[in-house]
Subunit: 392 residues, 2 copies
Amino acid sequence: MKFAKRMERMKASEIRELLKLTAQPDIISFAGGLPAPELFPVQEIAQVSHDLVLKEGRQLLQYATTEGRPALRAKIAQRMADKYNTVVDKDDILITTGSQQCLDFAGKLFLDPGDVVLCESPSYLGALNAFNAYEPRFVEVPTDNDGLIPEELDKILAATPRCKMIYVIPDFQNPTGRTWPMERRRAFMEVVNKYDLPVLEDNPYGELRYEGEILPSLKSLDTKGLVMFLGTFSKIFCPGLRLGWVAAEHKVIEKFVQIKQSADLHTSNFDQGVADAYMESCDLDAHVKDIVALYRHRRDLILKEMAAKFPAGCEWTHPQGGLFLWLTFPEGVSALKVFNKCIEKKVAGVIGDAFYPNDKTDRSMRINFSNMPDDRIAEGVSRMAQAIKECM
Amino acid sequence: MKFAKRMERMKASEIRELLKLTAQPDIISFAGGLPAPELFPVQEIAQVSHDLVLKEGRQLLQYATTEGRPALRAKIAQRMADKYNTVVDKDDILITTGSQQCLDFAGKLFLDPGDVVLCESPSYLGALNAFNAYEPRFVEVPTDNDGLIPEELDKILAATPRCKMIYVIPDFQNPTGRTWPMERRRAFMEVVNKYDLPVLEDNPYGELRYEGEILPSLKSLDTKGLVMFLGTFSKIFCPGLRLGWVAAEHKVIEKFVQIKQSADLHTSNFDQGVADAYMESCDLDAHVKDIVALYRHRRDLILKEMAAKFPAGCEWTHPQGGLFLWLTFPEGVSALKVFNKCIEKKVAGVIGDAFYPNDKTDRSMRINFSNMPDDRIAEGVSRMAQAIKECM
């Protein structure tokens, strides 16, 4: 059998092998990006599922429109307005099988082999993998503690042909946990407006803010129809229902719909119905408040533990929300070496190099803090501190 | 915005516009491919959903493995053995968001721009659309009333460079309703073995047989690991849960899994759990028997009505199962003209040319018979007969 050329780029990588090590059952894992399952509204979902199937089973279990359940699209539009000051028409929203699917579709929509995708350096591994199937070249835009640096983006766009789109996560970025301040957002939009560059704004964690105010989305600042906003129910509801969405200009959504139709016809109608019915009869805002309270506590705890236990020279970000922080080891300490030592001690993070499509630094690690109870967080940080010390 | 080259091929087509006309609510539509919703096991699904979420909500609603729910994969493997005499290891099955997603993934796995996909002439429109995103060239293999003609395939393979895969539907084909007899299956496998050609065997309707015995799948005759078998729960359970699968050689499934991971992480865990729990606590075989009884009745009715009402010179297939039959108009009668006349009279089929990637004949129409009660079938055939007569 002869596979397509793209498969050479998608083959098992060193990173993939390392990630497998983190999935051993007896490990304290800061490696995943899993929500806390103890907060899933199990009772409510059992009830709304039951009632929904009885009420509208014949429609719910039948084929449905590619665009998605109209009532759910209306609720999403309302929520984007309420939470992110972002006004979109419900007909300019496509519901997808998780927001991961939007990343794949964006690659399909924009990328011919050799085209350039711009991304923050570092960026979300899953997005890089999704785009990779369309054989682009990645150009990394430098970042600092306030996220992407617009002046650097401007320089790159002026000098780089075939830039087709930019992928960014302005809120509580994966993997760094950084958030772009308001001035950065405005400056970024000025640059992309200058070049008419399509923007994929990925916002999976935006509602999970532990301090400060929610900032307006890039989409809400968009005057030229360049921004595609990606949202998901995975972090505010549950990820086992695969529900994400993209909101964009109508002519762009039409293309996404065409792609969706040939890719999987439509998103699970059952999942869509359950989310819709839950939002109808339960209080999603109250549920998100519970999530925020728990994750804030875990963030505070892990920050405290790290400050108390990690050796001098380690640095880490202070995320205002989301699921991750970014740990940087002292000069001369190899993250790969620490990672291997951590695995010996049954604790894991994700090695930072996984998040750079081109440049590697071997100085960093992504740490997730949403999934673990207090005692495991404390014990995990202790083990990791020991591993770091042994590598110094 | 500059879209990828592939989007030029995916833009709104004449066919798409015609299909929109068939979706008007007051129309008697033989155009869709919808299961009969009155048979969906609504009560049972309400109950198993409720119980399942209560029992294992924290796992069910969490992220899951890309490959799919292990217990469901085991049940699928068992069912393939029982129904199609096809032995596959459960670990060589990937669960997908409907079997439509397998078509997209197969395109991604095998096709570089300009590569050749072979298909039956005519073939399933949704598959052609899925492959189209990967910019192949389609070569149509001639068929007769027993399906694909192996000798013709042999000639094409001998003469055509860059043949990367063949897509076939041996059982109750969409759109023609034809089934390949046993000798055809063997002869086909001899030809593909000679050329080591990967085969996508799409089998969405195989269990819906109204006469005769279920024939062994191509996969069950495969000695060289060339066949990828695509299955779905859409026609034997319900399509609103998006659940399909591909079963193939392990090294091929590994590639599908990589593609799936970057495309949407995994199929809805809720949908997978519900199908699994239903098969565990209810009787899927008895349910399929009910479907077969109803569709057999509707097939018999539409065949009788057509024989009584259609003018001389019309011909149509006698499907042994599935959802469709293929209507051919007398020489000189344009299917497009009949289609437009039908729409005037509020009845619809799908114009046959939709199912040919290259050659057009304008002589045929696909007719679905699974979705409509008796009186609508009778009235729809009357209207269509009148439309045909007016076009002669």
